[in-house]
């Protein structure tokens, strides 16, 4: 085992800010949706709008970070060991077997994570954010107003946005639980907090991101 600086400063900042914002957006959003009452409708709408612009800003920075650092390569999907990974979560984990894929700073994600996070980034988040922007800018016009979104019915915009919110909640539940499946139940969370994680020494043979660092 060796202690590795696996999650960089910005990465952790981005992760936790995004987590906080999404949670806050969920609370205010589902209040606007009418699921419960905490801040009151008016405040919930205001907060939701402010937080949503903050999230959009954060994601712009995150995209820049992914591109400039090359970290986007972490999310290239692969089917290699995907089945093994699935089998591990379904049965191996109960028998105390080892993870079929080793985690390194150059390949932080297992094939299943790659797939889930990639869809999170390319489908779920864009769907929710784009429908959210449409929702925010939605207006029908009168003589003096600019048309931003007009005849596209608010009903379907709201449908996609709510669907995104629900799927994000499902993601959140499973994601939080999956963090407990590391070396120890808290090792993954500790790593995301401190940046450091104890990783296996030897690289596995089929390392997807072989490199010469």
């Amino acid at each position: 085992m060796r202690k590795v600086y696996i999650y960089k400063g910005f990465e952790r900042f981005w992760h936790w800010t995004q987590a906080a914002l999404i949670l806050f957006l969920a609370v205010t959003g589902f209040e606007v949706h009418g699921s419960f009452e905490i801040f009151g409708f008016e405040k919930a709408v205001q907060f939701h709008r402010v937080a949503s612009w903050m999230l959009i800003g954060l994601i712009v920075f995150a995209i820049f970070w992914h591109i400039t650092t090359g970290e986007w390569k972490q999310y290239i999907p692969t089917t290699k060991k995907l089945k093994e990974q699935l089998v591990y979560y379904v049965s191996g984990i109960f028998k105390g077997e080892k993870h079929p894929t080793a985690k390194t700073e150059l390949s932080k994600l297992n094939p299943l994570q790659r797939m889930v996070y990639l869809s999170f980034k390319l489908i779920l988040i864009p769907m929710t954010i784009i429908s959210g922007i449409f929702y925010m800018l939605y207006k029908t016009i009168d003589q003096n107003n600019l048309v931003v979104v007009e005849d596209y019915p608010l009903e379907s915009i709201a449908f996609w946005h709510t669907l995104g919110a629900i799927l994000l909640m499902v993601f959140l539940i499973v994601h939080v639980y999956m963090t407990t499946t590391g070396e120890t139940p808290t090792s993954n969370i500790k790593a995301m907090l401190t940046g450091y994680e104890d990783l296996e020494d030897e690289h596995t043979e089929n390392e997807p991101l072989k490199n010469t660092h």
Partner: protein, 536 residues
């Protein structure tokens, strides 16, 4: 080096947090320059350029009101022509209505579900006509001397029209005093008719009544004496005696309307979200949370119950707040105070039931306000819906204009003779429509847009008044409103998905814990076994 980085990062995060908190907790300043400008503008009341009491021609003892009119015309030589082109004089307006073509609508051609109609009852109804001597349907609309200048321009509070005197002033009125006082119309000039329409204070409108002569900001933020103390004509401006603003019980077209926007613009709020509401929601919808705030207004009128007698005599009953609940002459009423409006889509165009129209649906729509969500010109407006029943011809399927008023018994008037058949024959004869003799009572509905009694901004509706499943707009259809509407299938499926995800992770976690415990036991056994082996 690392410590420095850490400090920089910490500082950046701290600044970000502060900025975010400032942004979230920051309240927009309450100083509204637009509103201040308006207040300044309307604080200065115009001073008249002429003192009519100094004019020689008005230093005379007028015998008849027509003499006053003649005196007015002697200086204002062409003004009568403007007045005689107005709907206040003609009691109707020509306009184009979809499906009806160009037609005249007004008191001469329409009915309502209060006192039903003016035809055959002019002697009484003309108390609200700006003319003298309208006692039947032969009124001379061309005679300028019959124009009543005083009813609108009297500033002495002396003038009043006589009861059932065909529009002539009460005999007690000192015409000289009135003539010398004339000026810009005041609240009580307009109010003498518009507050009392329907036969009593606040009967018809619900948002126009005597209380507005001297009221507080809570009741009417514009007319309040402790507020801007505005008069009717401050908003209902006029050029050449054509006053802007119209009531859709008699009007049809989206023209010459008095609007909030004419002063407040269509971006009156600091919040863009609120301003944006203005494309679909009228100002009145949020800013008039209630009407009939001081005195009650009539919400229902059932003519079918009229005519009952006690010991052979007509009688009346009053409700707990002193309003008539029953009158033998008129039937039964329902009054309400502090009424929450109903809400409808409205694009500024309307149609009315015209005398002679066939009844196609019940309740009969005395007037129809057009509009719907997908119509760009439509906005949600607050309305008072006045319901009731009234007499109709069962055979010819049309509403009846009954003769209600007469000075004498035996003149077919219902209010004297209490005979619907005679009243119908006389009324329908005057309007030139056949009457089968077979009458009944049919339910009717009438829509009164609520535009006055604007509340102070603190009392404007909060979001949840509408953005909730059982809010004020629960009945409005054709659009999706956040907080009120939701996709039920998605909500159900979503709830299940979240519950299943929770169950799945809990199940998975429990299985892990149990299997770990079991494995622990097994390993301990193995170790025990080995130890046993070693010791052996």
């Amino acid at each position: 080096m690392k410590v420095m980085h850490r400090n920089i990062l910490f500082t950046i995060i701290a600044i970000l947090v502060v900025l975010i908190l400032v942004n979230v907790l920051h309240e927009a300043p309450t100083y509204n320059l637009k509103l201040e400008t308006l207040k300044q503008e309307y604080a200065i009341k115009p001073t008249p350029s002429v003192d009519h009491s100094k004019l020689e021609i008005l230093q005379q003892n007028f015998e008849t009101p027509q003499e006053v009119t003649a005196a007015c015309i002697s200086c204002h030589t062409e003004t009568h022509k403007e007045v005689m082109a107005s709907s206040h004089w003609n009691w109707e307006r020509l306009s184009y209505v979809e499906g009806r073509g160009i037609s005249a609508s007004g008191k001469n051609t329409l009915l309502n579900n209060f006192c039903i109609g003016s035809n055959s009852n002019q002697q009484a109804c003309a108390a609200c006509h700006i003319g003298f001597g309208m006692n039947d349907d032969h009124f001379d609309y061309k005679n300028a001397l019959n124009v009543d200048c005083m009813v609108c321009h009297d500033n002495s509070e002396e003038y009043k029209k006589g009861t059932s005197m065909a529009g002539y002033p009460d005999r007690t009125v000192n015409l000289q005093k009135v003539a010398q006082s004339v000026g810009t119309p005041q609240r009580n000039n307009c109010g003498s008719c518009h507050f009392f329409s329907g036969g009593g204070n606040n009967v018809k409108h619900g948002d126009l009544e005597v209380a507005q002569l001297s009221t507080t900001r809570d009741v009417d933020v514009h007319m309040a004496v402790n507020g801007m103390n505005m008069s009717c004509v401050d908003c209902h401006t006029a050029e050449n005696h054509q006053i802007i603003g119209k009531l859709y019980s008699v009007s049809t077209n989206n023209t010459d309307r008095a609007t909030c926007e004419q002063c407040h613009t269509n971006t009156p709020h600091f919040s863009h979200v609120l301003n944006r509401h203005g494309s679909k929601v009228s100002c009145q919808a949020c800013h008039i949370p209630e009407y009939a705030k001081v005195n009650a207004t009539k919400m229902a009128w059932h003519w079918s119950e009229a005519g009952k007698m006690k010991d052979g005599e007509p009688y009346h009953e009053e409700d707990s707040i002193g309003n008539h609940r029953y009158l033998s002459m008129k039937g039964s009423f329902k009054w309400e105070q502090n009424v929450k409006p109903d809400y409808v889509w409205f694009n500024g165009t309307a149609d009315q039931y015209h005398l002679g129209d066939s009844i196609t649906s019940v309740p009969v729509q005395i007037n129809t306000l057009y509009g719907n969500y997908s119509d760009r010109n439509s906005k949600i407006i607050p309305v008072k819906i006045h319901v009731g029943d009234q007499i109709y011809d069962k055979e010819f399927k049309r509403l009846i204009q009954p003769k209600l008023y007469s000075e004498n018994e035996g003149d077919s008037a219902f209010w004297k003779d209490f005979d619907w058949e005679k009243a119908s024959i006389a009324g329908m004869h005057e309007v030139g429509l056949p009457f089968s003799g077979n009458y009944g009572f049919v339910e009717t509905e009438m829509y009164w847009p609520v535009n006055h009694m604007v509340a102070p901004k603190e009392q404007a509706l909060s979001c949840v008044e509408c953005h909730s499943p059982d809010g004020r707009l629960a009945g409005l259809e054709g659009f999706y409103m956040p907080g009120r509407d939701r996709n039920k299938t998605l909500d159900t499926a979503g709830t299940w998905l979240i519950v299943l995800a929770l169950l799945a992770v809990v199940g998975h976690g429990l299985t892990r814990i149990i299997s770990t415990i079991a494995k622990d036991k097994y390993e301990k056994q193995v170790i025990d076994y080995r130890q046993e082996d070693l010791t052996d």
